[in-house]
Amino acid sequence: MNARALLSLALRNLLRNRRRSLATLLAMVVGLTAILLFGGYRANILYGMQTGFVQQSGHLQIQRRGYFLDGGDNPTAYGIADYRKIIAAIRSDNTLAPLVVEATPSLRLGGIAGNFTAGVSRSVMAIGLVPEESNRMLAWNDYDMVSYARPLPLAGAGADAVVIGSGLARKLQLCTVLAVPDCRQASAAVDAPATKNATGASAPEDVLALSALEKAQQPPAAQNRIEMLAATAGGAPNVASLVVIEAKNMGIKAIDDLYMAMNLSQAQKLIYGAGVPAVTAIALQLRHTAQMPAARARLAALLESEFPGEPLELLDFQTLNPMYGQTDQFMGSMFGFIAMLIGVIVLFTIGNTMSTAVMERTTEIGTLRAIGLRRSGIRRLFMCEALLLGAIGSAAGLVCALGIAWLINHSGWTWTPPGYSYAYLILVRVGQNTPLLVGSIVGMIGVTMASAWWPARRAAKLEIVDALRHA
């Protein structure tokens, strides 16, 4: 029997009991739609996180060995002094150059920022970077995400310009001058006394003294001018007077309350003074995430051959941002659980449908066997019916999922992820996610075939005379 005749017979058998076939298809459509929507939502979250991390810290970072685990509080001990040579080597490498969008240095440092006009100070985690290069990294958007990243206005601003988190701006009572929303201290900041003494939550005495020393050499302070105290490589305190040009919502409140970005040269001046400047990381942003293994291998070889004495290591964005892997695992386990649950429901629904069909068509099976259809032909007929059910159910489920995804994506619904300080658009990426589409559809058809296997086998094993006697 040829394939066309087999398919035609299978299709007509499915249409024989339309209500039952429709009920079975409905179970498949609902199941596949749920899987695709959740999968699309999961993909959107992961792509969003990846985009954010890659925009901020690149796909790969070169750091001095041990800095990531142990050196966060001690940038001076883990500085990379040869960073300019390393970046030049990367940019001139024939293999790496086509892969790399940007290679840029950064220096992380901690310190205390004080708005001594208002008499307040806060611990900060600052990063010194090359604004033009960092801004180019923010343009990376390989997954066409709705990106909340905005260029840092440091490019073209003065060397002492800084951008701070909006939470930090509130703490430093810079609400009015920086137009920070939801700020209850705005009026207090304007009216605050010029300085405070050492009592209460104000700056330490030594900071006040250093500040006063620096202030004496400067014109009258602007309302957005702050001071930052940091420890130099030699262990001495160093103070820089900085101009806050913008407060930026960093998304995650814990970061928003500590964040400060400044020019790399300013950060190096704070830490290394007149000494040899260094950086704590060189970030490499690639054109595509899939290029990471190739870029990593070439970079490792390059560092080993060109900079053999440097104790450097390569870290990818997953390692640098453990939250990405944790979220991936969490969402993956939820997806797996939902898929398994739906798979079991579909398995039993289709198994029941096929078993009923075998029972109803027992005499027909006996007739087909009598006129010469082999056992394998009977098995093939029922498996073909299951394949058609799977294919039709998958197609309908796909259309349904794409339709609902379109509605969700155009609804403007938002949600605020845990720990975040602003809401994200709820988006589901179904159509753009080929692995999800192929995996879910193949999985659904596979479950359909698996659930039909036992009834088909039972039908094929029927004895002809018993089947013909069946009323």
Partner: protein
């Protein structure tokens, strides 16, 4: 060559703990090109005998030779292929596939035999004509009367030009007049095509049309005769 030859064939059914001897050391030869009727009371073993001749059941003992081949040693697949080539079936309840049209039901055995499309069309149209349903080829079984369905079943049984056609009570579900027309049709086609037809039936009309008769009781052949007309 005799289309059917049975030697000392026995068949026992196990109904729970009870053994029922459906056939007991039956030996039978059916001549080629005959319209043979097997008759006997209910439970006498007619259908079992027909099943063994039709190779859809296997004997417990004895030898079954159909179309010159000993069939009991064949594998299940080989038996299926053998039936598809050499045997046609007509059932009491017609047993047509309800989702296929009359044309497609008749065509089905040719699909199993991988007959070329043009040849399939020729044979199916020829048989639709022969059974008087040339205009009803597109009708589904549900749209046909009992007599028409049985005509389709007869056409299906003959379409692959088998050596042997088996019919189990082909008139049992038809009124007397329709039954008579079906018997007349089977007889005509049998004579035109030189095929051997074996019918199991209680129907006196069928028995009257026979070239040869076999009477069976309690699993044994108690009488057989060749009609003068043969």
């Amino acid at each position: 060559m005799q289309p059917v030859s049975l030697r000392n064939v026995s068949k026992v059914y196990h109904l729970d703990a009870v053994e029922v001897a459906a056939l007991n050391a039956v030996s039978l030869d059916i001549e080629a090109g005959r319209f043979t009727v097997i008759s006997g009371p209910s439970g006498s073993g007619k259908t079992t005998l027909l099943n063994l001749i039709g190779c859809i059941d296997r004997p417990d003992r004895g030898e079954v030779v159909v179309a010159g081949q000993a069939v009991q040693a064949m594998t299940d697949d080989a038996l299926s292929d053998f039936r598809a080539r050499h045997i046609g079936f007509v059932f009491q309840n017609f047993n047509l596939l309800p989702v296929l049209s009359a044309y497609e039901n008749i065509e089905y055995p040719l699909l199993l035999g991988k007959v070329a499309p043009a040849e399939r069309r020729r044979r199916v149209r020829d048989l639709l004509d022969a059974v008087g349903l040339a205009e009803r080829g597109d009708s589904r079984p549900g749209q046909l009367s009992g007599g028409q369905r049985q005509r389709v079943a007869i056409a299906r049984a003959l379409v692959h030009a088998p050596a042997l056609v088996l019919a189990d009570e082909p008139t049992a579900n038809l009124d007397r007049q329709t039954g008579a027309s079906i018997i007349a049709l089977m007889r005509t086609l049998q004579q035109e095509r030189g095929v051997s037809i074996v019918v199991s039936s209680h129907d006196p009309q069928v028995q009257a049309a026979a070239d040869a008769s076999v009477f069976i009781r309690d699993g044994r052949i108690v009488a057989s005769k060749e009609e003068a007309a043969a």
